[in-house]
Amino acid sequence: MKKISNRLAQMFVTLIGVSFITFCLAYLAPGDPVAMLLESADTIVSEEVLEKTRKELGLDKPFIVQYGNWLAGVVQGDMGMSYSAKKPVVEKLSEGFAGTLLLAFVTIIFVLIISLPLGIWSAVRQNEWPDYVVRFLAFIGVSMPSFWLGLILLYIFGLKLGWFPIASSTVTAKGIVLPALTLAIYQSTKYVRQVRTVILDELHQDYVTGARARGLSESAILWKHVLPNAVLPLITLLGMSIGWLLGGVAVIEIVFSWPGIGNMAVRAIMMRDYPLIEGFVLWIAIVYMAINFLVDLSYTWLDPKLRKGEQR
């Protein structure tokens, strides 16, 4: 229990810190958001109107007061209004997040389909041709920028073969395949290696030697003994990639015009829509840390050894 409350306190400090940094950056940044906001329609706005809007948005107050006001709003679930969309930030974030969540979900399924069989295969046939082929492919993938992979897939399957739409500004079943595949291939290149390492570690344990001595078949050892033991480290990996998928896929969302939160954030930055940027960063921080926290909890829950350790 004490561990959990410590952890929550630490998460809280991190959230405050991260939001403060973003707020500072937005405050110090060049470019006047009010001018950007009002002059978006090619009109020149007088200084008085600018002043008035600043006052309305609370942008004339000292920095700390602005940050305090914003923080007080966040606690009540109000992150302010997006300058560019003229909508509450919370609404914009949840719109974008729905797209990202769907994309992450499909990607994780693809990742599991690609990397589990390949990783296990390459571990079981260590230093034979399957292992070399898988490791070579993983190396190629690791050295390839994800957005370039996306462009290539888009070119081949979208343009040349015409199997999938080139851009999907609305959520469609066909439109999700290519972005999810791109992300899955990119993630799998790291995943396959780690699955391989985890399985190899388990295969070198004494209990495997024992099982072999008792005459169990290799497949029985793999399915009944090795895989259940390998679940735990794999869950950590999965948790990390979910966190990454929910936060850092802006590039891929841009390539495929996918209506996700990363795409939204990049637009917000270009429009200097500071409330939206601040809300985005804070939201990602919350999601990322919550997932890490859940992964750690699941660890304690799945591993009886750790559970006992905590009771003592």
Binding site: T14, V18, P145, G248, I254, M270
Partner: protein, 272 residues
């Protein structure tokens, strides 16, 4: 040095490739057949021909020349980022590991905060808000990445801290700065160099990614990520514009990844 290369043939090969890349980067302006900035509106979006064998872009600039000059931009930015990361992270790590106390606590809390957060998101926010430029990209990646190095160096220094040779130096009245410089630094340097070398490829891709989003190098700089972004709009009419800069990134990142891995094998024999 020659012995190291003789023993580790692969490392020698990869080092040679890295040297070739560095030479290409240094002499890029002389190697490029045409001026990477000089457009020719009569040659817009030409497919590969003997004269422009990787084609031309929307302003009629030679893609091959731009890719060659892009080596300079990419390598320069990446090496700046990695060296600064090692310097800043190393300094924070040494100070907090050796002296401990309140400073350590605060620095490490900040480092934990940075590590508890997806770096790419913050890098995009920093580079984007400050405005896209080469310097801001370097700054953003530095702000996001130093914590990893600080953590690593701190843990190495703490392991060294109570070794006999350090205590002996302290008892002998060696100045702290000399202890750090002569005894601590040489012992942590290999690990820092390995980490830095293995990060080169990743950093290069992150730089290209930021430029691709428009938060890195700005036009007309011949930067690979930026070229991919510009080429993306011509994916139907001029696919060579989005293929070749990516190939360049791939080749260079692959070489640095191989080199980093083999450098680790050479410097850190414990690692299998």
């Amino acid at each position: 040095m020659a012995e190291v290369f003789k023993k580790n043939k692969l490392f020698a090969v990869y080092t040679a490739l890295v040297i070739v890349l560095v030479l290409i980067a240094i002499f890029a302006p002389y190697l490029a057949p045409q001026d990477p900035y000089d457009g020719n509106m009569r040659n817009v979006l030409q497919p590969p021909t003997p004269e422009h064998f990787l084609g031309t872009d929307k302003l009629g600039r030679d893609t091959f020349s731009r890719i060659i000059c892009g080596t300079q931009v990419s390598l320069f930015m990446t090496i700046c980022v990695v060296i600064l990361l090692a310097l800043v992270g190393g300094l924070v790590g040494i100070l907090s590991g050796y002296f401990g106390g309140k400073v350590e606590m605060i620095l490490m809390r900040v480092a934990d905060m940075m590590l508890a957060f997806p770096g790419v998101v913050l890098a995009i926010a920093i580079a984007g808000i400050l405005g896209g430029s080469i310097a801001n990209t370097i700054l953003a990646l530095l702000a996001v990445g130093w914590a990893k190095y600080a953590r690593l160096v701190r843990s190495l220094v703490i392991k060294l801290r109570y070794n006999d040779f350090i205590i002996a130096a302290q008892v002998n009245g060696t100045k702290t700065i000399n202890i750090l410089w002569r005894h601590v630094l040489p012992n942590i340097l290999p690990m820092v160099v390995i980490t830095g070398a293995m990060d080169i490829g990743t950093m290069m891709m992150e730089i290209a990614g930021l430029s691709f989003l428009g938060f890195g190098a700005q036009p007309p700089t011949p930067e690979w990520g930026l070229m991919l972004n510009e080429g993306r709009q011509y994916i139907q009419t001029a696919p060579w514009l989005m293929i070749y800069p990516g190939v360049a990134i791939f080749i260079v990142v692959a070489i640095f990844n191989l080199w980093g891995d083999s450098l680790r094998d050479v410097l850190d024999p414990r690692h299998e």
